[in-house]
Symmetry: C2
Subunit: 224 residues, 2 copies
């Protein structure tokens, strides 16, 4: 039995850049980026730490590659529908993906050069807007506005300390309200009370703002 085959027994497959990056994403999903170290990643792959550097020049490059994996997961705007439905589809998909990989949002701030999947994504979105009749500069504006909304929403959602409406109700009662004296924060108290009663769903919240933005963009295009 060769050393190669022995490794395969230990880790079920040979190393590859693909496998390294995908396992890194899994690890970050499970325990956060702060817990992602080259040694732990290597451990999860049944390999030595330095072996990873055959496939990845540095940890920075690994993080860039991880972000691009995330972009690959986001649905492109479908071509066969009206532009609003298409943009809604891809925005909803983006929110879902970013909620699945919250670490990716924080990473984007520090990484400046977009990967291939990111570029393909931008191209598809721009194409959709241009074909819908938005002039070049308007398409740029729309792109910024929509992406800002999606990323900003994901960022806020990631920093919520709860995942479900029930958790929110518990949280509001046990943690928030006690540290919000009603005389100092009357409006936040009001909001918290109403939200706790009405229930809270991030997906609905997202849809509300998204539809508002899409409707506001509609008159800016020049129908073909």
């Amino acid at each position: 039995m060769s050393a190669r085959e022995q490794r395969q027994v230990a880790s079920d497959a040979a190393l590859s850049k693909q496998r390294v990056v995908v396992e890194a994403v899994r690890l970050a999903d499970r325990e956060g980026v702060h817990a992602l170290s080259m040694r732990r990643l290597a451990g999860a792959l049944g390999a030595g730490a330095m072996s990873l550097y055959y496939y990845v020049a540095s940890k920075e490059e690994l993080l860039d590659a991880m972000i691009d994996v995330v972009f690959e997961e986001i649905e492109l705007p479908p071509e066969e529908t009206d532009w609003q439905s298409a943009m809604r589809r891809r925005a909803v998909s983006a929110r879902q993906v970013l909620a699945r990989h919250p670490w990716a949002i924080g990473l984007m701030e520090s990484r400046t050069s977009p990967g291939p999947a990111h570029l393909r994504h931008r191209e598809a979105v721009t194409a959709c807007l241009r074909r819908a009749g938005f002039p070049v500069l308007m398409a740029t504006h729309a792109n910024w506005l929509l992406d800002s909304y999606v990323y900003g929403f994901a960022l806020q959602e990631a920093s919520l300390p709860f995942d479900t409406a029930d958790e929110f109700a518990d949280m509001a009662e046990d943690v928030y309200l006690p540290q919000l004296p009603p005389d100092e924060f009357p409006y936040l108290n009001e909001s918290a009370a109403v939200l706790a009663a009405a229930g809270y769903d991030p997906a609905e919240e997202f849809a509300f703002g998204l539809d508002l933005v899409l409707a506001a963009l509609e008159p800016l295009r020049v129908p073909t």
Copy 2:
């Protein structure tokens, strides 16, 4: 001369939580969060590394405090104007502040409990919206939408590899276009060309989307 006075000669003032946190913000502004270590921070303050732990329980707590310093810098919506002007003022201020402290955006993703300045800020914004006639749930929607836009815009702006229009023009020509084959990315090429010619200003881009959002929110309030 006491040891205390000697230290004052070395660092111009006694240590305090305030001074530690403010210097940490300065360091992060100058060299990025990744360059902010307890040892380097202590060095900048003319102190030993472990001395910081008298004022700060952990690095995590330091980061939380840094974020709250950032929120303190953001202008609250003024009370004496119409709601759109008030929200525009605070949004513009927020963008400027976040552009000055880009590390803060990436940090927000991982820290879940808002500091006192953050809470005061939310209260003031909610108050402004409620007084403008937005019902409770609508005020929540508006809050999410506006904050998403501001944070998302700041996030995108932070990941731009240039700061001025001139830099953008250079960048577009030297770096972007070469890696964007026109047959694969026709629309991105078109955008880049038009933007390079028309010039590019993040403040204007921000204002465009912001005004669109504010106008879209206007009909949702119930005038008092």
